[in-house]
Amino acid sequence: MKRFPRLGWLWACLLWALMSGSVWGQGAASVPLSTPVSNPAPDLPQVEARVSARTETPLSPQAQARWDHIAAELRCLVCQNESLASSNAELAVDLRREVRGLIDQGKSDTEIRSFLVSRYGDFVLYKPEVKPVTWLLWFGPFALLLLALGVAFRLMRRRPAAPTLTDSERARIRQLLEP
C-alpha cells in the first residue's frame, strides 16, 4: 500500500541512471573518442612511425598556431582514436601536408574544414557542426535530461499528503493502539 510513493524515488533513480547512460551512450555511438581499435585491419596503409619526422618541415610560428588550432579537432581516419595532428598513419601524413598547403594558401579555417568534410564526411570532425542532421547528437542528451527532470518532479509532487483524521478516527486509533 505504501509502496507507491517510494516507487517515485525508485523511478527517479532509474531515470538518472538512464540519463547519464544516454549521455555516455550518445557520445560513444557518434563520437567514439575512446573506441578500442580491435584487430587492426590488414588492408590499411601501413603505419610508418618515422615518416612524419623525416618529411615534415617545421612551420612558421604563425602557421603553427593555426595548425595546432585546426588539426587537434580533426580525426585521423585510419587510427580513429588519434587526431590528425598526432597520427603517424601514412594517410594522416598526406592530409597534414594538404592542410599545411591550404594554410600557406591563406585559406580560412572553415574552408580547410570543408575541404576535409567534402571528402571524408562529418566523421573527420571531433566536433561536428550543429545542423539538422546532428541536432539529435548535440541536443538529445539535454532533451532527455529535461524529460527526466519533468517526470521526476511530477512523481515527487504526487506524493500523497499525510491524511487528516477526524476526531472519531483518532479516538479509534487510540483505542486500537492502547488495549
Binding site: F4, G25, T35, P45, E48, L77, Q80, R119
Partner: protein, 208 residues
C-alpha cells in the same frame, strides 16, 4: 486486511498510472539503440561522395596508355577500384573484380593508389621517373599474375586522386553511373555477399 473504510481513504493505493511505465519504455529504447550502436563497424564511414559527381581528375595510364579524364565516366557505368600491389585485401577481392570485368557494358577503372609508399620512397618524389618506373613494373607484374581486371589502369603516385575520393584504406570500390555521379562505395575487400546483395543489383538497376 479489511476493506477500505472512510478512515483510510487518504492511504488508498491509486491504480498505478500508466506513465509509471514510461521510463521503462525509454530505458528499453536506449538498450536497443546501444545494442545497434555497439554492433556497427566503426570502419564503415558513410561517404559524403554518394550522390555527388565523381571528383574531377586526369591520370596517366600505366605503361604509356592514354590519359584518363574523369569526363570519360559519362556515358557508361563504371566500377572504380582503388588498390595497390602492397595491399593484401586487394589480392583477396581480385577474383571478384575479374568476374565483374566480364560483365558487358561496364567500364572497369583501376586506380593504383600510392604504389610507392613513403617508406619506400625514402624522401624521393613520388612523381620522379624512377619511382613511376618501379611502380609501373610492379603494377604490370601483379596484374599479369592475378588477372587483367581493369580496362583502364591508372597510377595515382602521390595519392591526390585517392584523397579526392576520400580514401582512408585500401581497397575501396566505387560505382559511378552514366551521368558521372558516385552511387556506391565499399571500403575494404569486396566479398561475394557484397557483390550479390549490393553491387550487382545496383549495376543492374543502372543499366538502361
Amino acid at each position: 486486511m479489511s476493506g477500505p473504510g472512510p478512515a483510510t481513504a487518504g492511504l488508498q493505493p491509486r491504480s498505478m498510472p500508466r506513465w509509471v511505465f514510461v521510463p521503462l519504455g525509454l530505458f528499453l529504447c536506449l538498450v536497443v539503440f546501444l545494442a545497434v550502436g555497439l554492433n556497427r563497424n566503426p570502419k564503415e564511414i558513410p561517404s559524403p561522395l554518394i550522390g555527388q559527381p565523381a571528383p574531377a581528375f586526369s591520370l596517366p595510364g600505366v605503361g604509356g596508355a592514354a590519359v584518363f579524364n574523369s569526363d570519360q565516366f559519362k556515358g557508361q557505368v563504371s566500377v572504380v577500384n582503388l588498390w595497390a600491389t602492397w595491399c593484401a585485401g586487394c589480392r583477396e577481392e581480385h577474383p571478384l573484380l575479374m568476374a565483374l570485368s566480364k560483365q558487358p557494358g561496364l567500364q572497369m577503372v583501376g586506380i593504383n593508389y600510392k604504389e610507392m609508399q613513403a617508406s619506400e620512397l625514402a624522401g624521393a618524389e613520388p612523381m620522379a621517373p624512377e619511382s613511376v618506373q618501379k611502380a609501373t613494373a610492379r603494377n604490370q607484374a601483379w596484374l599479369q599474375k592475378h588477372g587483367q581486371a581493369f580496362a583502364v589502369n591508372l597510377l595515382d603516385m602521390d595519392g591526390r586522386v585517392g584523397m579526392d575520393f576520400g580514401v582512408y584504406g585500401l581497397p575501396e570500390t566505387y560505382v559511378v553511373d552514366r551521368a558521372g555521379v558516385v552511387r556506391f562505395k565499399h571500403a575494404g575487400a569486396l566479398t561475394p555477399e557484397v557483390l550479390q546483395q549490393k553491387l550487382l543489383p545496383l549495376l543492374r538497376s543502372l543499366q538502361p
